[in-house]
Amino acid sequence: MTGILEWIIFLALSLIAVVTAAGMLLTMSMYRTGLALMASFVALAGLFILLGADLLAAIQIMMNVGGMLVMVLFMVMIMRDPGGEMMRAMKRYMHIRGLGAFSMTMPRGKPPAAAASQEQMNMSDHEMNMSHMRMTPRQYYDMMVGMAMSTTQLPWAIVLGMISALLLIILVILTPWPLASTAPTQDATTAVGELLLSRYMIAFEGAAFLILAGIAGAVIFAQRDRAAVQQQAMQHEPATAEEQVYTCPMHPEVRQNQPGNCPRCGMSLIPVKEVALAGNGHEAYQEHGEHGKHGGHA
C-alpha cells in the first residue's frame, strides 16, 4: 500500500520536475522561465524527501530556489521585456504559428505582405511601426531568428539532448547496480554534520573560501569602474550637432555628421545612440528609462 502511494508521489513529482524544466525552454518570457525553474527545483526537493534526504531537500529549497528567486527579481528589475509580452504581440501580429519560443527560431508561414501593411497603416502604435513591410522572406526570417530566445541550432540541440538522455537511460537499465537492501538507520543531519567537521573539514573550509571568492568576484564585476562612470557621464551630456554621428537603421556602415537620407536605401538617418538601443534583441537591458521609450521607432 505504501509502495503504491510512493509511486504516485514519485510520478507526480518527477512529472512536475521534468515538465517545468522543459517548459523553461518553451516559454517566451524570461520571468516565467525563472518561475518554471523554481517549480522544477521544488519538485526535486520533494523527490529528495521521498528518498529520505530531508537535509538536502532543505538545502535545495534554501540555496537553489532562493537563488532563483533573486534571479527572477533581478530580471524583472532590469530586463526590457521580462514578461515576453512584446514577443507574444509580435508573434500574433506576424501570424506565426507554433510552440512558444521555438516558433520564433523556426518561423513558419509567410512574411506579412500587402495585407499586413494595410493593417499596419491603421496602427498608430510606434512599437509596431517598424519597417518590416518591405521585407524579403530571407530578411524576415533573419529578423525573427535574431529575436528568438534560441538559436538556429535548436533542432541539433534537441537531437543531441535526446541522444544523451536515451544513452543514459539505456546504461541505467542495463547496468547491474549493487543494491543495498537496508534503509538508512542514522539521522542524516547528524551524520552529515559530523562528517563535515571531521573527514571533510578541508572540503568544507574550501567551500567557505569559494563562497567568499565568489562574493568578492561578483561585487568586483558588478561594481562600476570610477573612470568609466565619469566617461559615461560625459557621453550622456547633450551632444552638440557636430559630434553627433548619424547612421542608417538598415545599413550600419553608413555614417555621417549631419542628418539626411541614406545613400543606399533613402531612409532617413538616425543618431547612432538610438541605433544601439533599437537594434537590441528582446533581451536587451534597459539602463536608462528615458531611452527605452524611443527604442521602437528608430
Binding site: F10, L37, L56, N64, A191, V192, A207, G214
Partner: protein, 104 residues
C-alpha cells in the same frame, strides 16, 4: 508492491540532464544557458542522492558531496551573473554568439 527503485530515479535524472543539454546548446541568452546548467547540476544531484539511498545508505559521503555541489553551483551562478551583467553594460545584449568577437 515496492516503491520506486533506483532505476526510476536515475531515469528522471537522465531526462532532466537531456533537457539541460538542449538548453545549453540552443539558448541564445547567457542567462538561459546558466539556468540550463543549473538543471544539469540538479540532475547530477538527484542521481547522487538516489545512489546514496539505494546503494550505500549507511555512508553519508554522498550527501556531503551534494552539499559541496550546491555550493559550487551557487558560486558559479553569482560569478556568471556578474560577468554577464558586465557584458550587458558594455554591449547592450548578452547573446552568447556575440561573445565570439572576444577571440579576435
Amino acid at each position: 508492491m515496492n516503491g520506486p527503485g533506483l532505476v526510476a530515479y536515475l531515469i528522471v535524472g537522465a531526462l532532466l540532464f537531456g533537457i539541460g543539454v538542449v538548453g545549453v546548446l540552443s539558448q541564445r541568452s547567457a542567462l538561459m544557458v546558466l539556468m540550463s546548467i543549473e538543471i544539469m547540476l540538479n540532475a547530477a544531484i538527484l542521481t547522487l542522492v538516489a545512489f546514496w539511498r539505494f546503494v550505500g545508505p549507511g555512508n553519508f559521503d554522498a550527501q556531503v558531496f551534494v552539499i559541496i555541489i550546491v555550493t559550487i553551483a551557487a558560486v558559479e551562478m553569482a560569478a556568471g551573473l556578474g560577468l554577464f551583467l558586465l557584458v550587458f553594460r558594455q554591449r547592450g545584449n548578452a547573446s552568447i554568439d556575440a561573445l565570439k568577437d572576444l577571440k579576435r
